[in-house]
Subunit: 252 residues, 2 copies
DNA sequence: CGGGTTTTTGAGACGGTTCAAGCGGTGTGG
DNA sequence: CCACACCGCTTGAACCGTCTCAAAAACCCG
């Protein structure tokens, strides 16, 4: 499908910023090279100097860092339409790694192309800046969770966040979505161990809050899970006028 | 002293971005209203809609949020020259609060003024965007610490970070600085309790790593403390060519 | 000097870790 | 097509870092 990267990007930006047709037109002319990457591969590594940004088109990706003792902390997960390394536009040397959790389709745009687009269309520049700010808002939310919530709450919060973000791009109708993460990966994001994550998930399942089979995740009792996770989607900063429920994937 | 807000801001931006004289000139003409706020006061509160940004000129401030059970998590600390709520330029409703830790001098600039400066001088826009990205890089660092490091390491890391950031604005020569935080406030930033922070600090003191009296903090063994905290200042993204050691406070 | 906050200390409890082992599905090669 | 190896999930039990509760000591400010 032609232009899928541009479409994913425009769809995402439309969720949070006000673009006009000229902006969308300019975005759809961005030169983007598409490549598939295998599960578990680093797309960009810590310490690397980069001259392009990645747009996630399809699949599941995450960002992470290791401690001296080799423990891994996952810093973020990404859904299609996200530009996980947009910060590299100003900070050229990566201070963490960006990897494909599952086999993923990635679009690559040169910094140059983004720069000239930003200069030509301040509106787009504003949308991209906003995008990096929302990234930061999500970090703040994780900090509060890691610092002050229990393992159970953190887990609930993450499951709600992913549901909400996937739903915003049409990938989680009714809070049912594909979550291709091992419990180990969840643990590394939550600051927990596999053992604890396993027990928490079982507890949730037992209480009828969710249902899981392979990579299928279904949240059966959203209000309860959201309460446990102290989840309120405000920090994702979707535009007030977007109707999440109605948004289906763009037909193709 | 006239223009102190502009000077603090320019000094800070010069640390991370390349500005030319026209940029500095434009920045120094920003209309900034100065106000002093008492210790413990909220400068901007969660949920509030804002139309201006704050520049910390003098004092110590932090950002925080509360959990449902009333636990506080401090999300960030700020040093003079910082614009703690620069994100409000695009995200008008605060998703956390910004408060004065001690009596502080704050400059207020309207969003409008910043917007027109950004449009007129893309260089300044880039510097401000970068500023918000560094904010995000610090969040990532905190996430790794909270998720995967021990209380001891986190404490060491925070003390190193503050030393480095204060030093960059001339407020911590030789790793000696004024740290007007109670152990309770440190605990709320580190995701620990006062009791634990107290014990960790005593341990550090006993091992000769630091010296503390009132609000005076002196790091006596930087390499050792940095090692414990896994601290490497790269994530603060100072320009490669700034010589931290030489930088004295701008004469006034 | 007196009242409030901050720091310090002790002891017991708990959330989450660590270690260790068994289970189940899945893909691969003989 | 079965055997084997591998990876992810599950379970149990001991252990430990950090919390909680509680109270005393030190400090600060008016």
């Amino acid at each position: 499908m032609a232009n899928e990267a541009q479409k994913a990007l425009i769809r995402r930006l439309d969720l949070v910023a006000k673009l006009d047709n000229d902006d969308r037109e300019a975005l759809s002319r961005l030169p983007i090279a598409i490549r598939e990457v295998g599960a578990g591969t680093d797309i960009v590594s810590e310490g690397q100097r980069v001259t392009q940004c990645c747009i996630l088109i399809d699949g599941f990706t995450h960002r992470y860092r290791h401690t001296f003792e080799g423990k891994r902390q996952i810093i973020a997960f990404h859904v299609p339409g996200d530009i996980p390394d947009l910060h590299s536009l100003h900070i050229n040397v990566m201070d963490h790694s960006f990897a494909a959790t599952t086999r993923s389709k990635i679009g690559f745009v040169s910094h140059e192309a983004i720069w000239s687009l930003c200069l030509a269309r301040p509106n787009v520049a504003a949308a991209l800046w906003l995008e990096t700010l929302i990234d930061g808002a999500i970090f703040r939310e994780w900090i509060v969770g890691l610092g002050r919530l229990s393992g159970k709450s953190r887990t609930a919060h993450l499951l709600c966040e992913l549901a909400m973000r996937l739903r915003s791009v049409g990938l989680a109708p009714d809070h049912v979505y594909c979550l291709p993460l091992t419990q180990h990966e969840l643990a590394d994001a939550l600051g927990l161990t596999v053992v604890t994550v396993n027990r928490v998930l079982q507890e949730f399942k037992l209480e009828g809050l969710l249902d899981r089979d392979r990579s299928r995740m279904a949240i059966k009792n959203w209000p309860a899970l959201a309460r446990i996770g102290e989840f309120d989607s405000d920090y994702l900063h979707f535009r007030a006028d977007v109707d999440m429920k109605a948004s289906p994937p763009t037909a193709h």
